[in-house]
C-alpha cells in the first residue's frame, strides 16, 4: 500500500457519515429509505432485524442503518449506537394512539451517552394521508421543545410521494458536516 492509497482511503473515510434510522414499528423507516434509493415500496415487509443502505449524497457517503421498530426488537437498538453521527427519528403521523409511546421511546434514546452530540432529525412521515397530525402537532405531542441536548429539526414528509425526504436528509447531512468537517463546507451551504 503506497502513501497515496493511504491518503485516499483516509479521505474517503472522512467523508463518511453514519446515520441511524429509528422509530416505532409502522413509522415507515424502510419505506423512506427505499424511496430515496428509488426502489419499489409496494413490497416492503416489517423489518425483522436491520437493513444497511450506503449511498452517495453530495460529497458524502452515507451509511444508513435502519433497525426494525417492533417492540421485541427495541432492546437491540442499543447495539447500533456506536459512532452514530445523526439520528433520524421517524414518526407515523397518523398514529395518534401511540404518540405517548413514541415520545417516551425518543426521550429515553436521547439520554444515551453513545448518542450524545448526534444531530436529530424528526421525520413526520405519512403527510400524504388525510387526517394525519401536522408537524406542529407532533412537535408538541413529542415535546420536542424540551430537547436541549441535541441539535434537532422536525420535517413534514411523505415516503409514498417522496415529498421533503431529500431536503430533510440535506439538513441532517449539513448539520453533521458543520460539526465534523466545518472547514470543508462552504458557508452558503448552511441553512
Amino acid at each position: 500500500m503506497g502513501l497515496l492509497t493511504i491518503i485516499r482511503k483516509n479521505r474517503q473515510k472522512e467523508k463518511e457519515m453514519r446515520i441511524l434510522f429509528l422509530g416505532l414499528d409502522n413509522a415507515g423507516k424502510t419505506t423512506i429509505l427505499k424511496k430515496i434509493n428509488g426502489d419499489d415500496i409496494k413490497s416492503v415487509s416489517p423489518t425483522l432485524g436491520f437493513n444497511i443502505k450506503t449511498f452517495a449524497h453530495g460529497k458524502y457517503t452515507l451509511n444508513i442503518w435502519d433497525v426494525g421498530g417492533q417492540r421485541t426488537l427495541r432492546p437491540y437498538w442499543r447495539n447500533y449506537f456506536e459512532q452514530t453521527d445523526a439520528l433520524v427519528w421517524v414518526v407515523d403521523s397518523g398514529d395518534r394512539m401511540r404518540m405517548k409511546d413514541c415520545k417516551e421511546e425518543l426521550h429515553s434514546l436521547l439520554t444515551e451517552d453513545r448518542l450524545a452530540g448526534a444531530s436529530l432529525l424528526v421525520f413526520a412521515n405519512k403527510q400524504d394521508l388525510q387526517g394525519s397530525m401536522t408537524d406542529e402537532e407532533i412537535r408538541q405531542a413529542l415535546d420536542l421543545d424540551s430537547i436541549k441536548s441535541h441539535n434537532w429539526r422536525i420535517w413534514a414528509c411523505s415516503a409514498v410521494t417522496g415529498k421533503n425526504l431529500i431536503s430533510g436528509l440535506d439538513w441532517v447531512v449539513n448539520d453533521v458536516a458543520g460539526r465534523l468537517y466545518y472547514s470543508s463546507i462552504p458557508t452558503n451551504d448552511l441553512p
Binding site: N26, S45, T72, E82, T134, R153, N164, Y182, S183, P191
Partner: protein
C-alpha cells in the same frame, strides 16, 4: 428430525467457536493497538452478528450449550465495552481549528423560525373514528361526515359487527370511502369487514375477533383468538399474539378479479427456525366454513349470534 438438529448443532458449534475466538483475538489486538477507537465500530458489528447468529439458532441447540454461548457473547460484549471506556479516557491528540464565526452564529439565529420547515397548510387535522360501541351493527352510514380518503381508527368495541365493505352492502349510503391507514385497538367479540385499503394496518389488544381485510402491511400485537382473512402484498407480522388463524381474503368481497397471493406470516415473538406455536393457516375446509359464516354476518340480526361467528 432429531438427527438434523444434532448435525445442525454440531456445525453451528464449530462455526460459533471459530467466530468467537476470532473476535476475541481482534479485541486483544485492538486493545494493544494505538487507536482502539477506530476498531470499535467493526468489533461491535461482529459482535452483533455473532449474537444474531446465536439468536437465530436458539431452539435448535441443546439448552446447556445455548447458555454457554450466551455467556461467551456476554463476556465479549463486556470486553468491548471496557475497550470503549478505556479508549475514551485518553482522547487522541489532534490539531483543532477554531470554529469559523458564521457557522457558530447561524444555528442560534436560525433555530427558532426554521424548526419546522415544510409545514402543512391546515392548522389542525381531523380523522375518522369509530369507537365505544357494544352490540351494534356498524356500517358506512354509522361513520361521521368525512372526506373520501381518510385514516380510520376503530377502538373500544364489544360484540359488534363492522361492515365497511362497498360491494353488495345494502346499508351502504356513502359510496366514497377509501381508507388510507387503519388503526385498531381494544376489540372483543367483533367481526370486522373491511375493503382492500391502500396503506398499512396496525391492530392491538383484540380478543375473539374475525377480521376480513386487504392492506399493504399488516401488524398485530397482543391479541388472542383471532381469525384473519387477509389479502396482502408483503408479509404480515404478529407480536405477543396467540391462537391466530390466517386465511385468504374472500373472493366474493372483491370487485375485480384477483388471484390470491400466498403470504408468509412472521412471528416476532418467536424468531427461530422452528414453526411458531402462536398462529396457524386455515385449511381449505376451514377457510370455506369461515367465509360462509362471515358472509352471513352482513345483516343486523347477526349481532345476536356473534358468538357463533367469532373464534372462542
Amino acid at each position: 428430525m432429531a438427527e438434523a438438529t444434532w448435525s445442525f448443532s454440531q456445525t453451528f458449534t464449530s462455526h460459533f467457536q471459530q467466530a468467537q475466538s476470532a473476535l476475541e483475538l481482534r479485541i486483544e489486538k485492538a486493545r494493544a493497538g494505538p487507536s482502539p477507537q477506530d476498531d470499535l465500530n467493526e468489533l461491535s458489528y461482529w459482535l452483533a452478528k455473532l449474537s444474531k447468529d446465536l439468536a437465530d439458532a436458539s431452539g435448535s441447540l441443546p439448552s446447556y450449550d445455548q447458555k454457554q454461548y450466551e455467556l461467551q457473547v456476554k463476556t465479549l460484549e463486556k470486553s468491548i465495552d471496557d475497550l470503549r471506556v478505556s479508549s475514551l479516557s485518553k482522547p487522541k491528540f489532534s490539531f483543532k481549528r477554531k470554529v469559523v464565526t458564521p457557522s457558530t452564529i447561524l444555528p442560534t439565529i436560525a433555530k427558532e423560525p426554521l424548526k419546522s420547515i415544510g409545514t402543512t397548510d391546515q392548522p389542525s387535522s381531523t380523522h375518522l373514528i369509530l369507537s365505544s360501541r357494544s352490540e351494534s351493527f356498524l356500517t358506512r352510514s354509522s361513520l361521521p361526515e368525512h372526506s373520501s380518503q381518510t385514516n380510520l381508527s376503530i377502538f373500544d368495541l364489544d360484540h359488534c359487527i363492522v361492515d365497511l365493505l362497498g360491494k353488495d352492502s345494502v346499508l351502504a349510503s356513502k359510496d366514497d370511502l377509501s381508507i388510507s391507514a387503519l388503526h385498531v385497538r381494544n376489540l372483543s367479540n367483533c367481526v370486522l369487514l373491511l375493503p382492500i385499503i391502500e396503506g398499512s394496518a396496525l391492530l392491538h389488544d383484540m380478543f375473539n375477533c374475525t377480521i376480513v381485510l386487504g392492506c399493504h402491511q399488516f401488524r398485530m400485537h397482543t391479541s388472542k383468538n383471532i381469525d384473519v382473512l387477509l389479502s396482502i402484498s408483503s408479509n404480515p407480522i404478529i407480536e405477543t399474539c396467540n391462537s391466530i388463524r390466517f386465511g385468504q381474503y374472500p373472493a366474493a368481497f372483491i370487485d375485480r378479479e384477483q388471484t390470491p397471493v400466498v403470504y408468509s406470516v412472521q412471528d416476532f415473538s418467536h424468531i427461530r427456525s422452528t414453526a411458531s406455536p402462536h398462529f396457524s393457516l386455515l385449511t381449505p375446509d376451514d377457510q370455506f366454513d369461515l367465509v360462509t359464516k362471515v358472509s352471513s354476518s352482513r345483516k343486523v340480526d347477526a349481532v345476536g349470534q356473534i358468538k357463533s361467528i367469532v373464534p372462542q
